[in-house]
């Protein structure tokens, strides 16, 4: 009878197979979302998918510990994780495009402001080259130019989020400079 019981345990405990194919599919879908930079553009959504997989893996391990295994619900959950991860990857691509577009728009608008600044600064009173006010404006203009180059470099590398922060700051600064130069020209009674 003892032998029979052991044989029964062996048979019963080997019932139900780990859903390895489904686990691999879920891992692959999450990896794809990661490659799409979901952690950068949609961090909360990406973390939620990862957490869902961790929860299912706990459930699978718990089933593996049982005498009578049942992987049906885990398989269903793994299938939803694949769907969710694919959705996050798709949403990431959309978000990335949005940020890219925003950076591109800011790049265009800042170039317009920089061009205008470039035309206005030489109109500041002549013969005062080296004057402190102009020197500071020139230094600020050079810093904005450098920030735009840096932002362009980040944009070209596909680091749109970093580029967005940089170009936002540069844009604010360039606009402030434009106002400052226009005020100085107005004060000096120079038409622009």
């Amino acid at each position: 009878m003892g032998l029979a019981a052991v044989a029964m345990v062996a048979v019963l405990s080997s019932c139900g197979k780990t859903p390895q194919v489904e686990i691999d599919a879920a891992n692959a879908a999450i990896e794809a979302a990661k490659t799409a930079e979901a952690a950068v553009y949609l961090p909360a959504e990406f973390a939620a998918v990862q957490d869902s997989l961790n929860a299912v893996m706990t459930e699978i391990a718990a089933q593996e510990s049982k005498l009578f295994k049942k992987f049906g619900p885990a398989k269903t959950k793994l299938a939803s994780i694949v769907t969710l991860a694919n959705q996050v990857a798709a949403n990431t691509a959309t978000k990335k495009d949005e940020v890219k577009g925003e950076v591109a728009n800011l790049m265009t608008s800042i170039k317009t402001v920089i061009e205008e600044n470039g035309k206005l600064i030489p109109k500041l009173p002549r013969g005062k080259e080296g004057a402190a006010v102009i020197e500071q404006i020139k230094a600020d203009v050079a810093t904005v130019d450098a920030a735009v180059v840096e932002a362009q470099g980040l944009f070209d590398k596909g680091a749109y989020m970093d580029a967005l922060n940089k170009i936002n700051a540069a844009n604010e600064k360039a606009t402030a400079l434009n106002t400052e130069v226009k005020e100085a020209l107005t004060k000096a009674r120079i038409k622009f």
């Binding site: 510990s65 005498l67 005062k128 600020d140 904005v144 100085a184 000096a188």
Partner: protein, 371 residues
């Protein structure tokens, strides 16, 4: 007898049948239970830590929590590979417990760090913006080196970038940028204030000249002119009382005394008007020529030549005037003092040959100025 045997067999069969579920129950009951609850809890608190950005603001603890969780899962799977009744989940439970503990700490530390960083960043932004305000107020028109100007510009840009990151809740990035900004701005501000302090060492001398000039105006009930270079003011006194106050523009190197011809500096000293030049005698609307260089200036110039701080070929400046054509919002003269034409008309009218013109770095001391 045969019937008795049959019954015996039936009873035995029934007993075996009754024993099977008992054995099954016993077998199930004997299976070691994994610490599912503990592992689940660890996962939940790690998830909370992730939501609280512990990966950024409590990196070490968060990393440890995740490592312990991974160890729990690895050990759990390893135990599951053993024969069911030989499994031991103690290590799994221990790792899960440690993981949860670290994750709880990570959440707490992360929350505290975010709160502290938020306060710190706001404070730093306020103080750096104030510093930028001070730089703009006191040093925009103050001659500083290109290097200092560039550092100020970079510092201002980094401050702006920090503010952009802060608005998006990216406190770690904001902190990185503001630290770089702080270094650049604080350093530049220190250099600029040191230079200003050195310049203001001459204040006692200026104060003496100012007092003498006002005293003369009071005693003679006459007009006296004081030029305050730092605040860009032309102060006209009558009978020792300030009557007019106008904004002036100077030479680009206005800090310090004039030393040599062409240095674009406005001299400092006690002078007098030597000649009035009407609109037909100057290209700057109207002008009042002063007696620069006076004897003191000539003596200083000779001393500098003798000491070798000026080349032997250097020539002393001349033709320093108060003139019109000002109001450009910038220091543009070769060392003269420029007023707007309408204000020049007033000063030209009240001035005569011999009217005192005292030019000083500042009419107030540095502490009053910075206050």
């Amino acid at each position: 007898m045969r019937l008795k045997k049959v019954w015996k067999k039936r009873i035995l069969f029934a007993a075996i049948l009754a024993l099977i579920p008992l054995v099954i129950v016993l077998l199930v009951w004997l299976v070691p239970q994994p610490p599912k609850g503990e592992v689940e809890y660890a996962r939940l608190v790690i998830s909370q830590a992730t939501s609280n950005s512990a990966a950024i603001y409590s990196k070490k603890l968060y990393g440890e929590a995740k490592a312990f969780y991974d160890s729990a899962m690895v050990n759990w799977n390893k135990e599951n590979e053993r024969f069911i009744y030989f499994r031991n989940y103690e290590k799994v439970a221990s790792f899960a417990e440690l993981s949860a503990k670290k994750a709880e700490q990570a959440t707490k530390v992360s929350k505290n760090n975010v709160t502290d960083l938020n306060i710190l960043l706001k404070h730093k932004m306020d103080s750096l913006n104030k510093m930028v305000g001070m730089i703009n107020k006191y040093f925009t028109a103050y001659p500083l080196s290109d290097e200092v100007r560039n550092r100020i510009s970079k510092g201002k840009m980094l401050l702006k970038e920090s503010e952009v990151a802060f608005k998006k809740g990216q406190f770690a990035d904001a902190n990185k940028k503001i630290t770089e900004s702080e270094l650049l701005l604080t350093d530049s501000y220190k250099i600029a204030t040191t230079s200003l302090k050195e310049y203001f060492n001459s204040y006692p001398v200026w104060k003496n000249w100012i007092d003498k000039t006002i005293k003369e105006s009071r005693q003679n009930k006459s007009y006296s002119i004081i030029i305050d270079k730092y605040s860009r003011k032309c102060l006209v006194y009558l009978g020792g009382v300030r009557k007019y106050e106008y904004h002036v523009e100077l030479g680009k190197n206005w800090v310090g005394d004039k030393r040599v011809r062409g240095d674009k500096a406005t001299p400092e000293g006690m002078y007098r008007i030597t000649r009035k030049l009407g609109s037909n005698k100057t290209k700057y609307h109207k002008a009042l020529l002063i007696n620069y260089p006076n004897e003191t200036d000539k003596e200083e110039f000779r001393k500098e030549i003798a000491k070798g701080t000026l080349p032997r070929s250097a020539k002393i400046g001349s033709l320093i005037e108060i003139h019109g054509d000002g109001g450009r919002g910038i220091d543009w003269t070769e060392g003269c003092v420029a007023l707007t034409n309408s204000e020049m008309d007033v000063v030209y009218k009240i001035a005569s040959e011999g009217t005192p013109v005292t030019i000083v770095g500042s009419t107030v001391n540095l502490n009053q100025l910075l206050d």
